[in-house]
């Protein structure tokens, strides 16, 4: 592939990625405003032996959170007791009362050993990675 072809291909891919990202954003906003359910910001990180998921859910306490995990997915649904009022499109106020999100995990985990805590509206879930494979001795 020549340099100019490579640049043009890279530009085409970048445009496609941007278009997909815009599409995702639009769908999130449409869902939120039609359902009154917010899709929270979240972060997934991996440490040796565990996957850590953090989810930003301002206004949520631990008793409001429902969590389900499988080996590869985490599902969170939380009621926000303090109703969140946002000025939406064209200034119309919209009240949100829940957060909901399904998150794909980067490694298989053992959901039975997961631990979760909430602090200042940030939910943190620590999921131990599923132990697999066999140990190989090094000669």
């Amino acid at each position: 592939m020549h340099d100019d072809e490579f640049v043009s291909e890279a530009n085409r891919l970048e445009k496609r990625m941007k278009k997909m990202s815009e599409e995702v954003t639009r769908r999130i906003k449409e869902f939120e405003y039609s359902s009154g359910i917010l899709e929270p910001l979240y972060e997934v990180s991996e440490r040796p032996g565990e996957v850590i998921v953090s989810i930003d859910m301002p206004g949520v306490s631990k008793e409001d959170v429902v969590l389900h995990a499988t080996e590869s997915r985490l599902y969170v649904d939380a009621e926000c007791k303090r109703k969140i009022c946002l000025k939406g499109v064209r200034g119309h106020e919209k009240v949100f009362t829940r957060y909901r999100k399904t998150i794909s995990l980067p490694s298989p985990v053992d959901p039975d050993l997961a631990k979760a805590s909430v602090r200042n509206g940030v939910l943190e879930i620590k999921l131990p990675k599923r132990k697999g494979g066999v140990k190989i001795e090094v000669d």
Binding site: L38, L41, E43, D56, R82, I84, L86, N120
Partner: protein
């Protein structure tokens, strides 16, 4: 529009060695939240804006009036540059270059670049530390007058704030980065409040942060969309390098 970036001053103000504060969206939107609170609480006047083909073609509408998404505000010998929009990767060099040239033209006492520094354990931190990085002796003297910040001794800085400190040094403008420990991907009003407490050393930037703390939950939800878009730009700039350790200077 020459060079694809234009700093437009719609109102001229007579300033004398002013302070200049920059708060483009970045880690935890710390600089943006801090400057926005300052501008709104102390009734700063919009005196200009930045136009660039690097920004999406948009305006902000608030209570039936049009506003520029990247604004320049003024009050009591203080300029504040704040924005609804993160600077896109390809626009960082030209936008910062033009902005710094404009800032230098004001003969500032010091230019503050306000932001967050990612703290992986932010959830456990009740009182975030503010780190400071002066770009020379003049800025280091200003730092001595501030209570609280720790000198940023090691690490990487990535993005518009790094470029601003570097460009200012290049053209001899004193600049001081103030970066509060913050959530990387979540809007962090608590970190913004900490930065404003440091800036309260100056009478002209003294502001009550209680309303900011009290409305933190609402702001965290309100700023999610800007945070999402900012995070997209940060990832293109390899912002996660700020969590890495430099190897060249040991």
């Amino acid at each position: 529009m020459s060079d694809r970036v234009e700093i437009i001053e719609s109102k001229t103000k007579e300033s004398d060695k002013p302070l200049i504060l920059e708060g483009f969206p970045d880690t935890g939107l710390v600089g943006m939240i801090a400057t926005s609170h300052l501008v709104n609480s102390l009734d700063f006047e919009q005196v200009g804006h930045i136009e660039s083909t690097y920004f999406p073609p948009m305006i902000t509408v608030h209570e039936g009036e049009m506003y520029e998404p990247v604004g320049i505000f003024y009050r009591n010998n203080v300029y504040v540059v704040t924005s609804e929009l993160p600077i896109p990767m390809q626009g960082v060099y030209p936008v910062i270059h033009a902005l710094v040239k404009w800032m230098k033209g004001k003969s500032p006492t010091v230019i503050f670049s306000l932001g967050g520094i990612p703290e992986p354990d932010r959830i456990k931190v009740d009182d975030p530390t503010v780190f400071a990085l002066p770009n020379g002796k003049e800025a280091a003297e200003v730092l001595k007058t501030l209570k609280g910040p720790e000198l940023l001794k090691e690490g990487f800085l990535v993005g518009p704030k790094a470029m601003l400190l570097k460009e200012c040094k290049k053209i001899g403008a004193p600049a001081l980065g103030l970066f509060s420990q913050a959530y990387y991907k979540y809007p962090d009003p608590g970190a913004a409040a900490k930065i404003l407490r440091v800036l309260s050393a100056f009478e002209s930037t003294k502001v009550d942060v209680t309303p900011l703390i009290e409305s933190a939950e609402q702001l965290r939800v309100q700023y999610r969309d800007i945070m999402r878009r900012t995070e997209e730009e940060m990832s293109q700039m390899e912002k996660s390098r700020e969590l890495e350790v430099p190897g060249l200077l040991v």
